[in-house]
């Protein structure tokens, strides 16, 4: 009653509560994860932003399966030095704005010092947040070569697209193709890749006819296909994945764009074969997935965990493997902090990854450069009867 009668008291109390709230909020966040400054938290929480809805949902499932398999392996083996690992998921729809929302959600859920971000657009949009909050950002899906410049906290265990372009284009030129057109997804990766393909193709003496791009949500490509056809190329470089790749290839063949199609690893995002069917046959694709060798204990362990969680499904998808390996790298970094008595936080996790440099994971050995990027051998495949059939492996030039 007294408060009602006295607005000043109300204002003072409100201000006090606000300040108190701010302080408690801050202190909660700095201590989140049981680990702002602890060497060994009671439990570990990893955030993961994936496309769980929208046109790239299939891709998101590949990522999620890999992450869940890794978490199962780690927890079945007793956790990270005895502490359980929990993964929080958030939907980033593979788009920039949704990635920021997902990132903020993962942070406010608390407990996370490390986040898996799964696309170039997502990493680009959330890199400033990772820097500001000193979080480790693991990137098992974004292949834009410019990502490493955005934040020192980005650790990319997937090689960037330049490695694939540098390997594939000389091979295409050797096949006798000269006039190249390109179709790319309308995002940061598409734009950067277009510049790289153009530069590389022209340096090889090829004729560059130009590039077309569309947002990943576009499903009718007839206008763009007509433009590419009118350019009369003898080879078309396709840089997109998921539903966009499936609908583009299907409609391109239906509209009589019968030239050789060449693509990169985003094509293996999952929706191409179901959507395009036989129209996908003959595409030449570069990929970064290494075979899951029976002699590699990490690969065997991954397959066992994957089969237990997702019986009958394919564990070899490139994005499942890279997402899985990102979790193993995170766990190894957390263990490194315990062994070296370093406080568990995002900044130290980044230091731990770069200090160890090399990690034995399901996809072989991942070696990191000081900027957090990594390299891998490139495998060329030809799509035959709805399957990616590998026929050549190229080691990275540097």
């Amino acid at each position: 009653m007294h408060i009602r009668r006295n607005p000043r008291v109300v204002a003072c109390l409100s201000a006090g509560l606000l300040v108190l709230g701010l302080f408690t909020g801050c202190s909660k966040q700095s201590g989140s994860g049981g680990g702002g400054g602890d060497v060994k938290p009671k439990s570990y929480t990893l955030g993961a932003a994936l496309p769980l809805s929208g046109p790239s949902t299939a891709l998101g499932q590949y990522f999620q399966h890999g992450i869940a398999a890794a978490a199962k392996e780690i927890n079945d083996a007793g956790g990270i030095d005895g502490a359980k690992l929990t993964v929080n998921y958030a939907d980033n729809q593979l788009q920039a704005a949704a990635s920021v929302t997902a990132m903020n959600k993962l942070i406010t859920q608390g407990g996370t010092q490390a986040v898996i971000m799964t696309s170039s657009a997502g990493v680009t949009a959330t890199a400033p947040i990772a820097t500001k909050r000193s979080l480790l950002m693991l990137n098992p899906g974004g292949e834009d070569p410019t990502l490493q410049k955005l934040s020192p906290n980005i650790i990319s265990n997937i090689p960037n697209i330049k490695t694939e372009i540098d390997a594939m284009l000389p091979y295409i030129k050797q096949l006798g193709h000269t006039k190249m057109a390109m179709y790319a997804e309308g995002d940061a990766l598409g734009a950067t890749s277009t510049d790289l393909v153009k530069t590389e193709w022209e340096s090889l003496g090829g004729t560059w006819l130009g590039a077309q791009s569309e947002p990943i949500t576009v499903v009718d490509h007839s206008a763009v296909i007509a433009k590419i056809k009118a350019q009369n190329p003898d080879v078309v470089y396709v840089l997109c994945g998921g539903q966009q790749a499936g609908t583009f290839v299907k409609q391109a063949r239906a509209q009589g764009l019968n030239q050789q199609l060449v693509a990169a690893s985003p094509l293996q995002g999952g929706d191409l074969i179901p959507l395009a069917g036989a129209a996908a046959d003959g595409i030449l694709d570069s990929g970064i997935a290494q075979p899951l060798e029976a002699s590699n204990a990490k690969a065997t362990s991954y397959k066992t965990a994957f089969d237990a969680l997702y019986p009958g499904q394919d564990p070899t998808n490139v994005y499942s493997v890279f997402a899985h390996d990102a979790v193993l790298i995170y766990a190894a970094a957390a263990k490194y902090l315990i062994d070296n008595k370093m406080p568990y936080n995002g900044k130290n996790l980044v230091k731990a990854v770069l200090a160890q440099k090399s990690f034995d994971v399901a996809g072989g050995t991942t070696n990191f450069s000081p900027d957090g990027s990594s390299t891998a051998a490139i495998t060329f495949s030809k799509i035959t009867d709805g399957k990616f059939v590998p026929f050549k492996t190229v080691q990275p030039s540097s």
Binding site: L52, S53, G54, P55, T57, A58, G60, Q61, G186, Q212, S213, E214, P215, T217, V218, V219, D220, S222, A223, V224, A226, K227, K229, A230, G242, Q243, G246, T247, K250, Q251, R253, A254, Q255, G256, G270, D271, P274, L275, G277, A279
Partner: protein, 291 residues
């Protein structure tokens, strides 16, 4: 040649937009219900056909799609809109309810069908038809022909049949129509049914080109609204014209701008109409004839 190919592409793309826009417009012109959940019904039809065509075969799956379209649409009218109207809810409240139904149905799709993108194949139909040096995807060609047939049939129905005249009477004054023996509730149900019937082939033939994914509902309802606004909100032939105008704008604009701008072009056309002809292409005719 490129211009003419883009013209063909625009007409086929516009055919799909026209079908969906007409199906929306039939419902709105008669019942004045802003049936936003139409996009979700479209998505459900596509998912049902794509899911069942494997185990059941194409024709039974197609019929299941028709049942889904009619069933869901009529159910929404009977259990959402009609009780709301009975309780005196205004257009805005019904619009919000429709938006809610859209979201619920959209979110049920991953639960029922999974969130994977699915193909929808049209057996027995070649991928494309070649006319001289031009190529027309078969699904697009069928949609185009169907859209033309449907618009002619609907205009004739609204103008020359008892049902069409009763639709116009109910649209003009539901209370008065009921007094003279034209029960508005029944006409509303028929309008929803007719809208669902026209929506059904649009969902099937467009999905044969684009595949089926959980984001389908929002994409299609957005373009539909633009087409309906451009064509004239209460005019069925106007909605069809709006669909073709948007399809042609998107396709032909790619000759001059990057294809990144296709959606922006559609909205640009819409804004121009809102600014300079808010009644849409056939808006004035609508006020006179009620069609």
């Amino acid at each position: 040649m490129l211009f003419r190919q883009e013209l063909i592409n625009g007409l086929t793309l516009g055919g799909i937009y026209a079908l969906v826009a007409m199906s929306f417009s039939i419902i709105f012109s008669v019942t004045k219900t802003f049936h936003f959940a139409h996009g979700a019904v479209y998505m459900w039809v596509a998912y049902v056909v794509a899911t069942l065509q494997g185990p059941w075969g194409f024709v039974p799956a197609l019929l299941a799609g028709l049942v889904t379209s009619l069933g869901l649409t009529l159910l929404i009218e009977l259990i959402v809109y009609r009780p709301m109207r009975r309780n005196g809810a205004g257009g805005l409240a019904i619009f919000v309810a429709s938006l809610g139904v859209l979201i619920v149905l959209e979110n049920l799709v991953p639960v029922v069908f999974g969130s994977q993108v699915r193909p929808l194949n049209l057996p027995g139909l070649p991928a494309s038809v070649h006319i001289g040096e031009y190529v027309i995807p078969s699904a697009g060609l069928v949609s185009l022909v169907l859209a033309v047939v449907v618009v002619v049939a609907l205009v004739a129905m609204f103008r020359y049949t008892h049902l069409g005249r009763s639709f116009r009477a109910v649209a003009s004054n539901p209370q008065m129509s009921t007094l003279v023996g034209l029960e508005a509730k029944r006409r509303y149900l028929l309008a929803f049914g007719l809208g669902a019937l026209v929506l059904w082939p649009a969902a099937v033939f467009n999905s044969a080109t684009t595949g089926v994914n959980p984001g389908l509902a929002e994409n299609i309802i957005l373009i539909t609204l633009i087409a309906v606004i451009v064509g004239g909100v209460e005019s069925v032939p106007g909605a069809a014209l709006g669909g073709w105008l948007i399809g042609l704008s998107q396709s032909l604009s790619s000759l001059f701008f990057s294809s990144q701008w296709q959606t922006a072009v559609a909205f640009g056309v819409c804004i121009v109409f809102i600014l300079f002809r808010p009644t849409g292409i056939l808006g004035r005719t609508v006020l006179r004839s009620g069609v």
